[in-house]
Symmetry: C2
Subunit: 207 residues, 2 copies
């Protein structure tokens, strides 16, 4: 698409999304951002081991930074957006479940409790983090029955493993919750409004 | 779909959505509700004339009630969900714009100001309102340039006329805002979590 047909400034640098998250891609695309998604060469498992003592907030920021920096190193001049989300319930940090059984166990652990999501976004340019933002949301999962859980897991299938919470609030996952406090974009994994603001301040998007 | 493959209780009454709103249909469908959408036989223009002195809250509740009751009258036994949303900025109530020029004028009036959305949902059964809920959200529109506005209007086209705010926060409309306080479902026109809770309490959805 030509710049004059979009909400981008003419001659603005290309925007890259250093993430394979479907939610983040959909959010950015829906918001009218032209970007290319690039899988960052970051070993998340190794990074999490290295950052094992970090809290959810620190971990999300560190991973968002690393993703943005990894892609920025290969694409000089580009505006590279990295994002990460962590989920904390009590003292426990949760990871994306690696299968349906892990997702079921995770939903059981979150049932009837409040958990916190931390969503970090970092922007790197020419190998330097130029901006970052972190936002949080609190979600209260209702004490659903085992019968409900089995049906929910069957209905959702592999989509359960695509997010750190093993739910999709934008889908049947809404039936898991009794209360949600926080920005929807933050819940989906990308604090969108602050990012859009930064992209305007730096001449990527039109004012 | 058979009840045993869904999150509905076996033998639960049918759910009808008394609304032609695309957002409401998408929200309910995404949340895993099986329903039939029925256009309510309500003259909204006449109703708004009759309720001319009402504030945004009262008007939204009255219209949600009327939509639910209108469909309920024709479908005994069904659980009929009606919804309405009003937008208030200062002392002025806004209506869905009837064309692109009206949408542009409305966006100009909201630019650089905070406005309030009131989203009402009513459930009628056998000609009686059995439950209702109203929720509000506050949105701060940024002082975008005329150039941005023209491009946004061109990009959005007729989708501008589908909502009371002449924007879609779930689309490029996100670029219009500097701050959004309130539940995303409420902003899209349906306080979903309280409705799901009611549907569980009354045996329509599984606990």
């Amino acid at each position: 698409m030509r710049d004059q047909d979009t909400l981008h400034c003419g001659g603005a640098p290309p925007v890259l999304l250093a993430s394979t998250s479907v939610s983040r891609r959909q959010l950015l695309a829906a918001a009218g951002i032209n970007f290319e998604a690039v899988a960052p060469d970051v070993d998340e498992v190794a990074a999490k081991r290295e950052l094992a003592t970090a809290n959810g907030r620190t971990l999300a920021v560190a991973l968002a930074d690393r993703k943005a920096l990894a892609v920025s190193a290969t694409r000089p001049g580009a505006v590279v957006v990295g994002g990460d989300q962590t989920l904390c319930c009590g003292d426990r940090l949760f990871d994306k479940p690696d299968g349906v059984d892990a997702a079921r166990a995770q939903l059981c652990a979150l049932r009837g409790r409040v958990h916190e999501l931390q969503s970090a976004v970092s922007v790197a340019r020419d190998g330097v983090v130029a901006w970052r933002h972190i936002a949080s949301a609190r979600l209260a999962m209702r004490p659903f029955s085992d019968d409900f859980l089995e049906r929910y897991v069957t209905l959702s299938g592999d989509t359960l493993t695509t997010s750190v919470g093993a739910y999709r609030l934008e889908g049947p996952g809404a039936q898991l919750f009794e209360r949600v406090d926080g920005d929807y974009f933050t819940i989906l994994g990308l604090p969108l409004l602050p990012l859009l603001d930064w992209l305007r301040q730096t001449g990527v998007l039109r004012q």
